[in-house]
């Protein structure tokens, strides 16, 4: 699957199928610091992502 990341913006390829929680962990991210969006939908940690999915991992921490 193609995974879009922010700060800095970049795309990475990750093999599926993979649970959302495992994807976040595999990328070294904290699940409290991100939202995971598959297509147009927000998804919970137990959802299994397929190889063909397009996923955005959106950071939620702001520094202001």
């Amino acid at each position: 699957m193609q995974v879009h990341l922010h700060n800095p913006k970049r795309d990475v390829e990750v093999a599926g199928p993979l649970r959302v929680a495992d994807l976040v962990r595999q990328l070294g991210l904290n699940r409290e610091s991100v939202l995971v969006i598959c297509g147009d939908s927000l998804v919970t940690g137990d959802v299994t992502l397929a190889d063909a999915d397009e996923v955005e991992i959106r950071p939620v921490i702001s520094g202001g």
Binding site: L42, R58, I61, G64
Partner: protein
């Protein structure tokens, strides 16, 4: 995962509440948390006029939307900081939301104040001229100008989008340094005093993961990119540290901050009152200040080129 209130498929889990929610129940949860914060801290009433500090980010846009949804009379104010493309983009998000039906239907409006145009400097200039970190010059300018906007506009209260994560991180920093006077002032409501509008933080019961999800699920576009001036600042490091704790112990951040409000703030009441008694008036702009010239007027003097007499 199922929605805890209704059993439909969930779209988000909120581990500190040991719950997952579908879209509709999540939006209700967010509005209910804000309603509860407003009510329990007596932040504002429905007959009062509220000015929301809007940055174009998730927290302030979610706050404005929730206040309108709860029936409050809430206008917005956007402060242009002069941080290049970042300011241009964030302003466009604020303006886009201000043009949305949610705002138009309530007859609300967005005020815009541009610091470079109206005060002759941009935040990066001010940081360089004063040798302050940019976030310090920015915070000082925001506090002064947003307060002035609320007073000049005849608003009863200024609402800011500080969320649970912001407040927990500030608390963590203040405790690490034992800044007792800052701790005494870290309140969800700062009452109206001479020269100061009442300031309230209605998002203290929502984490920033929730405000981001609220925007996504209501279709509110916001600036996702981090302010380039804030990258790597201490506040962000504190948030990362707290999220590491939260990941292992869901609810730790809320307990840290909300118990501070319940258990510690009453102990610090005397410190806050003594500080308020020391405040005088800036000889240049009339704003409350403990020095002859307030910190904002000093910042403007140093950040703007001298003019010929």
């Amino acid at each position: 995962m199922k929605c805890k209130p209704c059993g439909s498929p969930a779209v988000i889990e909120v581990r500190r509440h040991r719950a997952a929610f579908c879209r509709d129940c999540f939006l209700h949860h967010c509005r209910e948390q804000v309603r509860r914060a407003i009510s329990s801290h007596r932040m504002l009433g429905h007959s009062e006029r509220v000015l929301v500090a809007v940055s174009g980010g998730k927290d302030s846009l979610a706050l404005w939307d929730i206040l309108l949804a709860l029936g409050f009379q809430a206008d917005g104010v956007y402060l242009g900081l002069g941080i290049g493309d970042y300011s241009d983009t964030s302003r466009s998000y604020a303006a886009r939301y201000a043009d949305s039906p949610a705002v138009a239907e309530r007859g609300a409006k967005l005020h815009v104040i541009d610091i470079p145009t109206e005060h002759g400097f941009a935040i990066p200039d001010a940081a360089r001229a004063t040798k302050r970190v940019p976030c310090s010059a920015c915070g000082l300018s925001k506090r002064h100008l947003l307060n002035r906007a609320a007073l000049d506009g005849g608003y009863d209260v200024l609402a800011t989008g500080h969320n649970l994560d912001d407040e927990a991180a500030v608390l963590f920093g203040n405790v690490m340094q034992w800044h007792v006077s800052y701790l005494a002032r870290q309140r969800p409501v700062l009452p109206e005093t001479a020269g100061f509008a009442r300031r309230v933080k209605p998002l203290i019961r929502l984490g920033e993961r929730e405000t981001a999800a609220y925007c996504l699920l209501t279709g509110i576009d916001y600036i996702v990119e981090e302010c380039p001036m804030a990258a790597g600042n201490r506040h962000l490091r504190y948030k990362e540290t707290l999220n590491e704790i939260e990941d292992r112990s869901p609810g730790a951040k809320a307990a840290f901050y909300l118990q501070f409000l319940d258990q510690m703030l009453p102990v610090l009441d005397g410190v806050a009152e003594a500080e308020r008694d020391l405040v005088g008036e800036c000889s240049r702009c009339g704003a409350p200040s403990s020095a002859e010239i307030c910190a904002f007027c000093k910042l403007v003097e140093r950040a703007t080129p001298p003019t010929d007499a």
